[in-house]
Symmetry: D2
Subunit: 337 residues, 4 copies
């Protein structure tokens, strides 16, 4: 059986990476690409990397057309816009992996306060599995809709969840200092992401108010079984891809770094995409892959966990394919190694 897949909002960087992964997947066929572009330009006009690899137009399809063509749709639409379309696709029986933040938060009021908009599909919120298979893998095979995680949350949750669950770090005063390549800021031209502004520069942004804060907090709290309190600071690195998160938590008890490392190894023993390293990871080693690399140190009373992912792969499109694999009964690693 070949799964017929579509991509909504196919002009951005995550969509491009998604399409490249799907082209390597021998159990799916890409049958629809949507955008609100004029005309129906071939996808290779918007993404020249795809020249000779995918002969499909970007179409301004309505949701009936899309649903009738596809068994599974990946939504790369912006938040709020995404939920509107997702709800209609689900109603027509098409399964969806949603890249937007619309179904990640379980509390509508938290969503509406951080995203400053009404939620278009509030009733479904809270019933949608969070698409981090390393922690929520059981709920994914049967899901009609999966909420694909944010890039920063993936890097922070994979780093901290095992130690929180094991009770060896405190759940208050956690500090998540993250650094991301510029592709995370999207493909819409703006001054802040112009080459001569970002290149040879490093900056912090949205300090204490980035929208991924409640997502990290909620998921870690769920996994820890009690409220987790943290400060999240994102930074922009002059590179295309990769996130490195340096997470600082207070040690509870006297576990050594080596014991902490064992906890990480146990937690991810069956996770094909998490690698526990002895040396601090570099983003280059997980770039263009679906791996998350982790290393841990104890310095004084602080436990430091460092994680690296490719923000567009494990932080977005790779995770989405991993989720789709589980939803459709394929091996979890198909097209991803």
């Amino acid at each position: 059986m070949t799964v017929r897949v579509g991509v909504m909002g196919a002009t951005g960087y995550t969509a491009l990476e998604l399409i490249k992964l799907l082209l390597r997947h021998d159990q799916v066929e890409i049958v629809a690409l949507t955008s609100r572009q004029e005309g129906s330009p071939p996808i290779s006009q918007v993404h020249p990397q795809l020249t000779g690899r995918l002969e499909l137009p970007l179409e301004n399809l309505d949701l009936n057309q899309l649903a009738s063509r596809c068994d599974c749709v990946f939504s790369c639409l912006p938040h709020a816009a995404s939920a509107v379309s997702v709800a209609q696709l689900l109603a027509k029986g098409t399964r969806v992996v949603d890249f937007s933040a619309d179904y990640r938060l379980t509390d509508v009021s938290v969503y509406e306060s951080w995203y400053a908009t009404k939620h278009p599909d509030p009733d479904r919120i809270g019933d949608v599995p969070y698409g981090l298979p390393e922690w929520f893998g059981e709920a994914i095979p049967d899901a009609e809709l999966v909420a694909n995680p944010g890039c920063y949350p993936t890097s922070a949750i994979l780093a901290l969840a095992p130690l929180l669950q094991a009770g060896v770090i405190a759940s208050e005063d956690v500090i998540v200092d993250s650094k991301s390549g510029v592709s995370g800021a999207g493909r819409t031209p703006k001054l802040a992401t112009l080459f001569p502004e970002c290149n040879e520069s490093f900056t912090a942004y949205s300090v204490g108010k980035h929208r991924h804060t409640p997502e990290i907090q909620q998921v870690l709290s769920t996994l820890a079984g009690h409220e987790v309190d943290l400060v999240f600071t994102p930074h922009l690195v002059p590179m295309d891809r990769g996130i490195l998160t340096t997470a600082y938590a207070r040690r509870r008890g006297m576990k050594s770094a080596s014991a902490m490392q064992d906890i990480l190894r146990d937690a991810y023993n069956n996770a094909p995409f998490v690698r526990i390293l002895d040396d601090p990871p570099a983003t280059k080693n997980s770039a263009h892959t679906n791996y998350c690399d982790l290393a841990v140190r104890v310095v004084g009373e602080r436990v430091i966990v460092i994680s690296c992912i490719d923000n567009l792969i494990k932080g977005a499109s790779g995770a989405a394919v991993q989720n789709m694999n589980l939803m459709f009964g394929f091996p979890e690693t198909l097209a991803l190694v």
Copy 2:
């Protein structure tokens, strides 16, 4: 005497570099910065680098106000718009260094064909010195208006003019293959200069149809004393600053590379900003300076001259200050070394 200077169109990269150079110049005072921005934001809001260094607002001044405040105005306006303002400033007795292409070409029809617009001040064209002091230095001290050269033309003309004048290279079939940092593309957000598009990429653009082609051709022809014919190909390098031009010309006669180098040395003997090197230059060594580095090789029947400049300094703002120094009787190198 302190020269009161103003900058028209102060929001771009060349204006920023110009302002930083002028702040080091102890014979000038910056008294006006214009733009069409709303309100009158302090310049440091648009250029954070200037925080604490220059307390001036960006003003939407009319040309009467500007002329009354300034002895000299640098115009960083786009072509066509620049000539409109320049003409009025000159009429009021204010001297001008024009960064735009409006007064560089001496033939109105060539201008109008390459720039696809009517020239707003056609009568003045042809009477304005070309602001490359290494070759046109005598005309600059008395000029009311100087046409500041384009960045690519500066790199090509300094490389080729001495050998053309000496008759040791042919004037037909010259190839100018240039590579520029991204700041040359300006500060207006567009997809092509977004960080994730340019970074880790190298591309050619405007092959055979870049607007600097007729400028290079005209100035080299003037200096050679006969028509020079060339192909010009610009490329974009993933770096902020710098142009390297690799110019290929056919050898006339049997001069060695060393003899060619002597010709370059003689030509620039009194030019404080041209350095003749033995090894191929790297853009890094002239970045953030007003120097042009040159090296020459002979390979078979081709003479290869390689030049490096900082596109924003020797290719724009440094040259402008060098011109102003000559116009106002200051030492040529003031604020530039």
Copy 3:
């Protein structure tokens, strides 16, 4: 049948890319990795990207051991050293793809003059197919040894060969101006490729004396059927990967750019990895792929062909896998799309 493959000299960048491609190839098994490193460290210690993906040590194997384990060996050894090992492997019946320059040139004296060394296996020279399947594909399936092309030559030959064969460009006074990412300079630490030396810089090097010059010249001459004469200038771009070559040739006859483009399309009609584009290519669009992108322009009497490849893939390891596919009867594109 699974082909058992080995990699000699597995510590460099081309070896790393080769291994990653081979891991995606379902008809081969990597069984040996050699280097002269002390001990037998796991490959992931030298290439952290391979952590969890390949559990093999780097071994200091003798050639008997290597030959007995492998059906096919990829040699990533330096020139001269490579031929010594290759000759012995062939004698034992192991087939080889040689990344070095040792078997590319067909004239021993040209080799010895450009590489300043005695050739260790001179008798075989001239009988080894040049591993550019787009042009020499017929000789590869039966070859015991294939000479994998240089990165710059691949970019230049694919650009120029069709037009030379069609007689629409002249074979003298060709100019090949190439720009490469820094990974092409290898992984041995040296000042010239230190980050703060290369970053934010662009430079020419080995002007007129790069060792790829005779290789480009020889292969183009073979394909053209007469002597081709060219100047080759390599440059270093501050990026990891990619080569863009701007090739300038004199037009013979009056063919338009569009007719030239048709000649390219016809030549590569059956070549799965060559793409003919309308717009000038950017290295980013072929990076991390085995594609070569080509575009052509006519400017005055010059034909300009621009080509882009990933120097480590189509310029080295991808081409090697493509050759191995042909040697062992696999589909040419296996593991490469």
Copy 4:
């Protein structure tokens, strides 16, 4: 009076920046450059940027020669080697600014434990002013020797000292998460700083054990008047220059971010090189300058101070010139704005 200055160990990046600053300083003359290089190559051979700007050889001078030529020597020698030379220069009456760590720490045993070497001049330790004029400016004018601060310490101390002194942040559990450009790693070729290793990558290193840790701790403790306890994590950013430090401290009392900002403004009211910003700083805005940019936020119970400096200027050579200016009675900002 012109001060005759020399630079010991003139081949690295800090020496290059130092020389460029000194060339702009109209009250000093560079009279000696030392290194252990063979022969006496002109400095421009090692630093091509200096071509035509400084005609001095790199000499293998003994300390008698150096002392007799110079009123002031800047030592860019490695730690331990530096103290040996510094002691002899001081004995001969030459004043010194020492870039190494040899005289920064006041406790010999701390030095010997972190630097794993005997201190060659232990008696002087503790009597040498720490060359951060913003905090120790009074001791510098009369000093024969100044210990120029480390780059990371400068960024951390300027960020945290005012708030510690004001008692509005706690002195335990401070987290200093710093990110540096690659020039900070020096100019000696090694794998870790090769372009293709660093570019498109971001990594942490020396987590919890970087040698700047005790320096930050000691100076902040001195300024706070009580022991300060912190965790320091350095990271490597793919750019040439700049350090951004994100410092997290626990809030004591209820001061708002705005009140914290006022404390910073008051502390640096007379410091010409510290700028207090409203928005998070970017390294680009202080690159190539002697400025330190600071911004502060309060998030939950954490105060976050972000600082940016150019690691080679305010973090090394600019600070050294600032110190020399004070030592010789020049205006503090001479040659630095």
